[in-house]
């Protein structure tokens, strides 16, 4: 069993003009389901295609067209639910959410209001070593994405691109368990990490692959605890929903701004109007999206074109049997098996590619050393070159070879950096390179002794100083290393220097 004991972080407190306030945040994440075809049509989901090329008759709502559910998208939603330790509903159903908009060709979005496919689950959001927020998931439902309206091509005309129309989304709805802007960003990050591990969402926020609606309210200290005890929302403040954010930074800024806006209104004796708002990153403020008169009545009702979705427990079990190791488990295992620090384990499990790479390097070798090399040398170099780990010129097997040479004392750490550079630029088997280029560490004490003797003999003044101040022995070690081209084993050099100087 995975041991996931952690302490709860303190909620963010904002000092108002009159008193302190706490934040209460719930999120709806729209995650595009990783699938080649749309939710109810066979059209492609490829990003960046020419406008209106990934559109079927169903997508553009031709008369008489009918939706047919893409079973793979259902599987992806179930896999996501299992990854969030959530209840999988064997019976769910699709509803129509009706509203008029040019990028919504049917005049309704097919969604799951009344009977979502996934029920309650949870996400552990780490906020530091041993500190984490448990965020409860209320539900996940499948729904269609809308198309895109384009208003900036022509001064008088608007255009629509239906490529995205009907692409499958998972809406992941949290409980209001998030207590600050940093937690909100960390929650999105953690969710993204899990989805990417599961392969159910690419999580590319720039492409709109993962978008967040954030519900923010503020309350006086103590109120939230009353809510948690009773689950009675009346203990909490009125919330505003900030729609459609696709950047972690903007999410944090928007929450911070929105909380302060609400506090200012409340402290002035005003009250919060429940509404939908948009964050303007240029101005750094949120503003109301629509007035109450324009408030939509979505007239949800069960979609009569689709039968209730019935899935079998055995099918769910089959998906459960193929679940990958998830971030929490992987991190715990890296700490336990490879002796990694919490921080290193977090860094190495952030992305699945990195974790896989590290594991290949560390397997059967010194885990800590492997972690150092992956994080410091490899990641550092990749970042400098702007490359992804998948494109790394140094393979896990090559880096593993380097780590192995260090562990065996065949090369020093310093030489290893040179070796890494050679492998990075020229490729090749590290052991063979070391052999061919004479990079092996000199461990022959006779040779080292000769070098030490020579340095001592050449620098009598330094010897005297060192005898007064033993810290200067390092100078001799450095000189010996220099004389041996860095190949002398540093420990052996140190021992001999100390002995010869009589320290």
């Amino acid at each position: 069993m995975l041991d996931l004991t952690f302490a709860t972080p303190k909620p963010k407190v904002i000092q108002g003009a009159k008193h302190d306030w706490e934040l209460v945040i719930g999120m709806e994440i729209h995650a595009q389901v990783a699938s080649n075809a749309k939710l109810f049509s066979g059209a492609s989901t490829t990003f960046g295609a020419e406008p209106n090329t990934n559109v079927s008759f169903v997508d553009c709502a031709m008369p008489g067209m009918l939706p047919v559910l893409n079973e793979f998208c259902v599987e992806q939603a179930v896999r996501t639910g299992l990854g969030l330790k959530a209840q999988i509903n064997l019976t769910s159903a699709f509803d129509r959410k009706n509203y008029f908009y040019p990028d919504l060709p049917q005049g309704y979005q097919i969604s799951q209001l009344y009977h979502p496919i996934v029920g309650e689950g949870e996400v552990i959001v780490e906020m530091g070593p041993g500190i984490a927020r448990l965020v409860r998931i209320e539900r996940i439902h499948l729904e269609q994405d809308a198309g895109k309206s384009i208003h900036d091509i022509d001064p008088n005309l608007s255009f629509v691109d239906y490529n995205r129309t009907g692409v499958a989304l998972m809406e992941i709805v949290s409980r209001p368990d998030i207590r600050g802007p940093e937690e909100a960003a960390a929650y999105v990050g953690k969710l993204r990490q899990i989805l990417r591990y599961l392969g159910t969402c690419d999580g590319n926020m720039q492409n709109g692959n993962l978008r967040a609606d954030v519900n923010v309210s503020v309350c006086r200290p103590g109120q939230y605890e009353k809510y948690q005890e009773t689950q009675d929302f009346s203990h909490l403040g009125t919330r505003c929903e900030i729609k459609n954010m696709n950047s972690m930074r903007f999410i944090q800024q928007a929450i911070e701004y929105e909380a302060r806006r609400q506090i200012a209104i409340l402290e002035d004796g005003g009250s919060i109007v429940q509404e939908t708002r948009l964050y303007d990153p240029d101005k750094g403020e949120t503003r109301s999206m629509r007035s109450k008169e324009e408030a939509h009545d979505y007239r949800y009702f069960p979609d009569p074109d689709l039968l209730p979705l019935e899935i079998e427990q055995a099918w769910v079990d089959g998906i459960a049997a193929t679940m990958p190791e998830l971030p929490d488990a992987k991190k715990a295992r890296f700490m336990a098996d490879f002796g990694l620090t919490d921080y290193d384990a977090s860094v190495l499990t952030a992305e699945l590619d990195a974790a896989r790479y590290f594991e290949a390097v560390a397997q059967g070798r010194d885990g800590k050393l492997a972690a150092n090399w992956v994080i410091n040398e490899l990641f550092g170099r990749l970042k400098k070159e702007g490359q992804e780990i998948a494109d790394s010129p140094v393979s896990a097997a090559q880096l593993g070879g380097i780590v192995e040479l260090i562990s065996a004392g065949t090369i020093s750490g310093k030489i290893a950096k040179d070796l890494f550079e050679i492998v990075w630029t020229e490729g090749g088997d590290p052991a063979a390179i070391v052999e061919a280029r004479g990079m092996k560490q000199v461990t022959d004490t006779g040779a080292i002794e000769a070098a030490v003797d020579a340095i001592i003999a050449e620098n009598p003044a330094q010897v005297e100083k060192a005898k007064q101040n033993p810290k200067l022995a390092g100078w001799f070690v450095g000189q010996v290393m220099k004389a041996t081209g860095g190949k002398a084993a540093p420990a052996a050099v140190n021992d001999l220097v100390m002995k010869k100087l009589g320290l």
Partner: protein
Amino acid sequence: MTLNTLTIAEARDALRKREITSVDLTMSCLTAIDAADGLGAFVHKTPEIALEQARAADARLAAPGAPALCGIPLGIKDLFCTKGVPSQAASNILRGFKPEYESTVTTRLFDAGAVMLGKLNMDEFAMGSSNETSCYGNAVNPWRRQGSNVALTPGGSSGGSASAVAADLCLGATGTDTGGSIRQPAAFTGITGIKPTYGRVSRWGIVAFASSLDQAGPMTKSVRDAAIFLQAMSGHDPKDSTSADIAVPDFEAALTGDIRGKVIGIPREYRMDGMPAEIEALWTRGIEMMRDAGAVIRDISLPHTKYALPAYYVIAPAEASSNLARYDGVKYGHRAKLAQGDGITEMYEKTRAEGFGPEVQRRVMIGTYVLSAGFYDAYYNRARKVRALIKRDFETVFAEGVDSILTPATPSAAFGLGEMASADPVEMYLNDVFTVTVNLAGLPGVAVPVGLDGQGLPLGLQLIGRPWDEGNLLNHAYVLERAAGFVAKPEKWW
């Protein structure tokens, strides 16, 4: 003899024996159609397509094994999308719309070698019971009251289909039935029409009215024709999620004419107050015919019948309001000319105000209302509960051994066009009183002509069957048809 007066079964046999050709048969129908513009049945004629299909059918008929419908000229209700041929659900909002695809039903028919003569008139979006809501103007019933020149409705919504079949303009026609739109016009025009079990026939490519109720079916000159035609339309379609993956039996083979020992239910709730004596008498005669054929007649109760019509007129408009949202002027069909400064809201409002007729607008508004926040539970949810109870009523009597249920098809004979113009819309809705229960319960129902009223107009009875039991249902209808011996034809005036 003119070939267009043949039944499908007769023509099939003659075609297979090479006694006639599909081209001659098709020409005969095309001639009849051209002489029948006064009926307003065809809204779009496709003679080139028809003759091309007829020639292909004749080639196919040269070898044995051609399907039953090979070479049979049919009319297609305008609600069916037919590739490259105007398909506009008799609505101005789809003016000029030519689909790039062929509905599953017409694909099946054409694959079987059927010939399309053209598109048939109907009520706009299948909303209506008299064909008067069509953007093309109404179709006319070929029947007239004795000694009267008053133009009568062919019924609706499949009024063009009914008129065309009754006037021998085609050998059969497709219809669709959401609340009685096949059975009521069939009864008004003295022909046979069957609405199959919900899920028997694919809805793909048929312009949707109320998705949970819509079902296509054949309108024909005989029960045997209905069996042959339905056979060709039916079957699972993976493109329609509500289409059932259930084997289609040989419906024609089910027409044994033997119903001895079968239990026919007579629901007491269908004996409405103020029902015309002629309808009552027709029903009684039908009961006697079934009894004489050896069936066991049993009085049954379908206690929730009286709630069916109100439930239907909540559910159907609710679904329609959503199904018709796509007609917004953005993608295809009509778009209103906009004034300077008009935005998207004005485009929607003007387009839909111009494109939809008053009855469609009424139902869209009713549907929008019953689904809106605060009214959903009182209307839509309650109607769904009523629907479940109506379904249970039928399940109960079928479980008690009833094989089919005999009722009137309509509360009256065909009425005059324009007669209901000033009436409360609810009066028009009462036309569906005997038929909507069948749609709400998803059951198969067939209207069979049984007699003429005092003014010489046809009257029909309805038989309701068990789900997926169209074979037995058609056999019961076949017995009724033979016993009634309805052979009358409208006197040609057009």
